[in-house]
């Protein structure tokens, strides 16, 4: 073929166009392969495969889902969380993952009320769920809650000097340490509606009420209020009563039906003193009973200024389940004497010896009841301490029947263990590191020399 300038130019431009087309095709293929991917887990026992429930949970959002992870940019956990999130994303490609470093963008973290590294906010449309632990179990349960979109409302009874839900300045202009503003935020973060209720004004408890909370009333409830509350509870209501030594709800008769009696006195716990706290702040670090509220709890909880509860075992013919949920001060006692005197010691005649029950859960049919001999553990001053917030959220979830928490066990290691005797290790070392490479070089040199001689 004769090559003149124009044919050359022609062929060149053809080549150029061809190259361009190929590049575009490659880019498209790369995008498509990235967008729609299939994964095969070749490991024994499928260590990198999400549990069936997780797959189902994330597939429940075909129209998209955003996970915003609040985590520092550097660090091991970042990679772990990223790997986990990508597993969900592979199953639901319409899901987007965003990473925010709370240290670099504190304003965003504050707006989202992020307190711990590794917080994940799940968002689908208008609904959000916040989880503070980025494990498969937590993410999947968050997704399930998000998809259910419970518009459940938790109502706090007001009108008797209960802990205020909103910030009200005290006389000196400072913040009320015993307000429940953070507890309210926690509940809202979980997707619950939080409202107050004045039982004396309301004719009856509103329809959409999931849980009623009675948080440390200073004065007893009126008769009419008691009646309304009892009617609601007996009809399958769910109630949380928190009543410390200084408060009195006047619900003795009603609680007595369920075997719950408040004991006089303040719980003193010498063990709390040993770890630097005050003896009047009992600390519960072991949760012995099997109950949805304490299941999975590992952090200790503290109960500043706490009373005690006596729980009777239910009569044999009753179907009611009564559980000692929180039991502490194993080496302490319930002090009935005057704390202000500064002289406190165990007095076997008046004081009840530990362990003291601080919280109980009662269930019968639809009816659910949690009673604690302390309401301060939820107050702004203490709710951030240790596991207090988790405990409260678990209580709220159980009461609101959101506890069908799905347990996903971490996959076990299948290939652990190695039984390599010392002599064999030495043999392996010399064989692999020295013998085989020398052999390889030897063969190469031999071939080379032979060919050169020829």
């Amino acid at each position: 073929m004769k090559m003149d300038r124009s044919t050359r130019l022609n062929i060149r431009s053809q080549n150029f166009v061809m190259g361009l087309i190929l590049t575009i095709l490659l880019a498209l293929a790369a995008y498509a392969s990235h967008r729609y991917q299939v994964r095969w887990d070749w490991t024994k026992g499928g260590r990198h495969t999400l549990a069936e429930q997780s797959v189902k949970a994330v597939k429940a959002f075909p129209e998209g889902l955003t996970m915003t992870v609040y985590i520092q940019e550097r660090g091991d956990r970042r990679q772990q969380i990223q790997d986990l999130m990508e597993k969900y994303q592979v199953i639901n490609p319409s899901m987007t993952i965003r990473y925010v470093d709370p240290d670099l963008d504190p304003a965003a973290a504050r707006q989202a009320e992020v307190a711990v590294y590794g917080t994940v906010i799940l968002r689908a449309g208008e609904k959000t769920e916040k989880i503070t632990e980025a494990s498969e179990e937590a993410v999947t349960n968050g997704l399930i809650r998000l998809s259910k979109g419970s518009a459940k409302t938790i109502r706090f009874v007001s009108g008797h000097g209960e802990h205020p839900l909103d910030e009200t300045p005290d006389g000196g202009g400072g913040k009320d340490r015993f307000a429940y503003t953070q507890a309210k935020a926690l509940l809202k973060g979980e997707g619950y509606g939080v409202e107050g209720i004045n039982l004396a004004e309301a004719e009856k408890v509103p329809e959409n009420t999931s849980v009623i909370v009675l948080a440390g009333p200073r004065k007893p409830l009126l008769d009419i209020e008691r009646q309304r509350l009892k009617t609601w509870l007996d009809a399958g209501g769910r109630l949380l009563v928190m009543q410390g030594p200084g408060s009195d709800a006047g619900l003795e008769a009603m609680l007595k039906e369920h075997g719950v009696t408040f004991l006089k006195g303040v719980t003193l716990d010498p063990a709390a003193q040993m770890i630097g706290g005050s003896a009047s702040t009992p600390l519960i670090s072991r949760y012995t009973v099997q109950h949805p509220i304490t299941k999975g709890m590992s952090a200790a909880t503290i109960f500043p200024d706490s009373g005690g509860i006596d729980l009777e075992t239910p009569p044999a013919d009753s179907k009611e389940q009564r559980i000692r949920l929180l039991e502490g001060a194993a080496r302490g006692w319930l002090e009935t004497g005057d704390l202000a005197s500064g002289q406190v010691e165990f007095n076997p005649e008046q004081d009840r010896k530990g362990p003291i029950v601080i919280g109980v859960a009662v269930e019968s049919g639809k009816q659910r009841l949690v009673v604690t001999a302390n309401s301060n553990f939820l107050a702004d001053a203490y709710v951030g301490a240790l596991g207090n917030a988790d405990l409260f959220l678990n209580m709220a979830r159980w009461l609101a029947e959101d506890e069908n928490f799905i347990a996903i066990k971490p996959k076990e290691v299948q290939d652990g263990g190695l039984n390599l005797p010392g002599a064999d290790a030495v043999l392996l070392f010399w064989g692999l590191v020295v013998l085989i490479p020398v052999l390889l070089v030897g063969i190469g040199a031999t071939i080379w020399l032979k060919r050169r001689r020829r």
């Binding site: 990473y99 290691v413 652990g416 390599l420 392996l428 692999l432 063969i443």
Partner: protein, 255 residues
Amino acid sequence: MRAIVTIALRELRGMFYSPLAWTLLAVLFAICAYMFNAGVLSYQIQMLEYQTYGMRGGLPLTERTIAPMLGNAAVLLLLLMPLLSMRLIAEEKRQGTWPALACSPISPTGIILGKYLGLLLFLAIAVGLLALPPLTLYAYGNPDTGQFLAGLLGLFLTAAAFGAVGLAASSATEHPNVAAVVSFGVLLMLWILSWMGNASGGTVDKMLAYFSLMNHYQNFLSGVISSADLSYFLLLSAAGLLFARQRLLADRVQG
């Protein structure tokens, strides 16, 4: 097709007649075997600590010994592959054997595929050799075969992509040294892209993360085969080969 195989075998024979391939394999194997032994040793020590503290569960053997070795093997290959691939086309051009090959009835595509196939055969041998140290573990423990095989597959695909990039570089120049430097530069860049690719998750970051070789190889090492990772390596290899083909086509115009 037969011509492609002929070229491939000629290429492979050429490699093993010279001491380069043997030395390369010896060095690669010695270093990998050394790292493997070090990994096994540290695994034993960790296991001892583990048992002392009475922790339950086990230490994953494959994750701690085989995967790191294969990971390091890829880094070594990143250094060594340019040396192996630099001559593929550049040397022919320099030695003057190129016109003979270019004028033969074989198409540029055939030549490139043949040379690349030769390289792949060599890589298969290299990867097979590197499977030896982990195989010894089966006598003393219970490695995760699936994860091990996924790692080997990943190593082969990674090295194959290295080779394709090297081939492209070799087709672009007459100087093998230049080809080696260029392919090494490109590969290292691709390898370390993820350093920036993991930031806030914007589009640019995502693209950087996608182009990073390491991100894709990592999945294979952990035992997960993803169609996206498979296609990444295949597409990267294809890109290298297509680039080389376009280069040779352009060369023909000049000739």
